[in-house]
């Protein structure tokens, strides 16, 4: 998606019509200067609204779209249009999306009625003709998935929150990343092949013999049961999510009660620590498993090694080791009929008999060679055992520490809960009682969830057994043979598609982790490394050692982590698509990034981030206040800025002085007194190219 032009009319505080053309190519940054309150966030919302019908939180959508000045200036009964129109290029086509509302002004401005927003989308291909396009949500979703739009159009001051997502939001990242990868197609194919398989099994049942019919009937019953359990499982997950939401609300309320605020904050900290300990426990367990599977065989080698040494000792005692003489040498002497001492070795002679005896001993040369070779391996294995035991011990010790610490935290959490429950303030006590009830219900649900997952697994296993039995069944008739072959093909195709999806996802996640880590380390001076869990949550660790500890990082570091994450998603998706992956996905090889005040809360990392941002995306639109822009940020970005605009804000309030910014020697007013009684913003082009 290459952004070309944005047109606004009476949208929020932008009175009348305004246009912005976006920079691209080598100078891919469009800088939009504006003071606080000058319309930067409104402009960010223009992108979100036109493409996804969304705005940042805190704005009541429909009734606040139309600029107040236009409504106040209109007569009763007049209608006022407001729209946002965005032109962009994608996959060699041009798109023009427009979202609009119409306000009918009432006798009083407050009684103005605004229509529901409507949207149109036009696409122009190589012939230059514009055609209207249906299914706007789907089309836009394929170009830049709605679930991911928050990473491309974002409020920079809150960007660190990307890495502190709630679990359901982490799921969203997983889902959206899959869309970018094209995995969505695989998901759909997987589901559709299951249904196709069921239909083909029905057809097989009609033509199959009695045993086949029996097996298929059992499979049908299992299918129904799995559907029912999956439905229950989904319900269970939804209920857990709802309980978590209620729990968060209760904790939020406790945080607002002055007397217990500190206790709740301590609890927050402890829950956070407990999570980290549990995560570490899981990792230690993983390390132990992998260590045991790769080296535990050493424990069982004690007996064989001892036996080997005993055998060698016996050979040495008998003088058979070392062998000292080669079999071929003795055979040559016998062949020649002469010993090395010049004695004739005639057949039946005492001398010949003595030399012949050496033949048996000489045969041990091969044994000696083996003893040397096996002895070398055994000596290495003997060293591995103590090493294995030491590593195992180390992991066990760490695990033990984590277990003890987790248990201590749980005791302290219980203690906090008791204190809150017996609080003299009834509100606090009742909130805590409710919280406990929720926790108990949640524990039950979590257990139920585990049971349901196990049940599904069991039934799936039985289905696999039936499939294997069915494929072994001999088809008596041609019709049955074809029907059976079709079912087999549907199952095989489905399983292979699942495998491809699994591999793609795990490759993508591991590549993403490497890239985020690299990008994070390039920007941040800390030695932290990034790990991405299976559900796409991001964690910082103090080193890449297996025993590394998880760290929260400062706000600045979390901002860098978020930017590194966004940049990496863009980079990797682009790379996967360039590789021409056999899998069809949305063609998203060009990505924009629209950021409102990305340098707001930064101090020491401001320059490093400004240096990296232009490289993260193909096109960058950055909205900055003069204090964020001047200095490091301007120095780093000015060479890449292809367009600059200023949001010139008019306020009805009296102000001491006009606030201006100097762009390339041109002075622009950012805040000035309004010539009328209305508040509005004009967009001025201040520098081009």
């Amino acid at each position: 998606m290459k952004l070309l032009r944005l047109k606004l009319k009476n949208f929020r505080q932008f009175y009348g019509e305004s246009n912005i053309r976006f920079a691209s190519g080598n100078r891919n940054i469009t800088v939009i200067h504006g003071e606080n309150g000058g319309g930067k966030t409104a402009l960010l919302n223009a992108f979100k609204w036109v493409l996804y019908s969304e705005v940042t939180s805190g704005i009541q959508l429909k009734d606040q779209i139309v600029t107040k000045r236009a409504i106040y200036e209109a007569k009763s009964g007049d209608s006022v249009d407001a729209f946002v129109e965005l032109e962009f290029e994608h996959d060699e086509k041009r798109y023009l999306i427009k979202r609009f509302v119409k306000a009918t002004v009432g006798a009083e401005p407050q009684s103005t009625r605004t229509t529901e927003p409507e949207v149109t989308l036009h696409v122009s291909g190589s012939d230059g003709e514009w055609r209207s396009q249906d299914r706007v949500v789907d089309v836009i979703g394929r170009i830049l998935p709605s679930d991911l739009h928050g990473y491309f159009f974002f409020d920079g001051e809150r960007i660190e929150q990307i890495v502190k997502l709630a679990p359901e939001e982490q799921d969203q990242i997983a889902v959206a990343s899959k869309k970018l990868l094209g995995v969505e197609i695989l998901d759909r194919a997987d589901k559709h092949l299951v249904i196709a398989r069921k239909e083909l099994e029905k057809q097989l049942k009609e033509v199959g013999d009695s045993h086949t019919r029996l097996l298929l009937e059992e499979k049908e019953v299992l299918d129904d049961e799995i559907d029912r359990i999956e439905h229950d499982l989904q319900e269970c997950k939804d209920n857990i999510r709802t309980l978590d939401k209620h729990n968060a609300e209760i904790e939020d309320r406790l945080r607002q009660v002055e007397d217990v605020k500190a206790l709740q904050e301590r609890r927050d900290q402890l829950i956070d620590d407990l999570g980290k300990r549990k995560e570490a426990l899981k990792e230690h367990l993983g390390s132990i498993k992998s260590l045991v599977s790769s080296s535990a065989f050493n424990i069982f080698l004690g007996g064989p090694i001892k036996r080997f040494e005993e055998l060698c000792d016996k050979l040495r005692e008998r003088g058979e080791l070392p062998a000292g003489i080669k079999k071929q040498f003795v055979a040559d002497l016998l062949e020649k009929g002469k010993c090395i001492c010049n004695e004739n070795l005639t057949a039946g002679s005492e001398h010949r008999h003595a030399v012949e005896k050496w033949l048996d001993k000489a045969g041990l040369v091969a044994v000696e060679e083996k003893v040397i070779r096996i002895g070398g391996s055994i000596s290495q294995l003997s060293h591995e055992l103590p090493q294995f035991l030491k590593q195992l011990d180390n992991h066990q010790r760490l695990r033990q520490t984590d277990l003890q610490e987790a248990s201590r935290i749980e005791t302290e959490l219980e203690d906090i809960s008791n204190q809150l429950k017996s609080s003299p303030k009834e509100e606090v006590a009742s909130l805590e009682r409710r919280r406990r009830e929720l926790k108990e219900t949640r524990d039950d649900l979590t257990m139920r969830k585990g049971e349901l997952i196990a049940e599904i697994k069991k039934k799936n296993n039985r289905q696999e057994e039936i499939d294997s039995e069915l494929s072994k069944q001999k088809a008596n008739e041609e019709r049955q043979r074809i029907a059976k072959a079709r079912v087999d093909a549907a199952i095989d195709a489905k399983n292979r598609i699942s495998k491809i999806r699994e591999l793609m996802e795990s490759d993508f996640r591991s590549d993403l982790q490497d890239r985020v880590s690299r990008l994070f380390q390039e920007i941040s001076p800390t030695p932290y490394v990034v790990r991405i869990s299976e559900n796409y949550s991001l964690h910082l660790f103090d080193s890449d050692d297996v025993n590394a500890l998880q760290t929260d990082g400062s706000t600045g570091e979390r901002q860098i982590l978020s930017l590194a994450f966004i940049g990496s998603i863009i980079d990797l998706t682009r790379e996967y698509q360039k590789k021409g992956a056999a899998l069809p996905g949305p063609d998203s090889s060009h990505f924009p990034m629209v950021m409102d005040s990305p340098f707001g809360a930064l101090s020491i990392y401001r320059q490093a981030i400004a240096e990296h941002i232009p490289r993260l995306a193909d096109q960058v639109i950055v909205m900055v206040s003069p204090s964020q822009w001047k200095g490091d940020v301007e120095r780093e970005m000015i060479g890449r800025a292809g367009q600059q605009y200023a949001l010139s804000y008019y306020t009805p309030k009296d102000i001491d002085e006009v606030i201006t910014i100097d762009v390339n020697g041109k002075e622009c007013s950012l805040i000035q007194k309004s010539p009328n009684d209305y508040e509005y913003t004009e967009i001025l082009e201040v520098s081009h190219g």
Partner: protein, 43 residues
């Protein structure tokens, strides 16, 4: 994928192609087209 029988390889390719082309099509129609693909390739 490489170890799959040729007819299964063809089914996978055609099903993915269909899913890509008709991403927004209603499910029942798509399913019957998938069954047709399997039937055509396994005779």
């Amino acid at each position: 994928m490489l170890s799959a029988k040729p007819e299964v390889q063809k089914i996978i390719r055609e099903v993915l192609q269909l899913e890509q082309e008709k991403l927004y099509q209603d499910r029942p129609r798509l399913q019957s087209e998938i069954i047709d693909i399997i039937k055509r390739n396994v005779e």
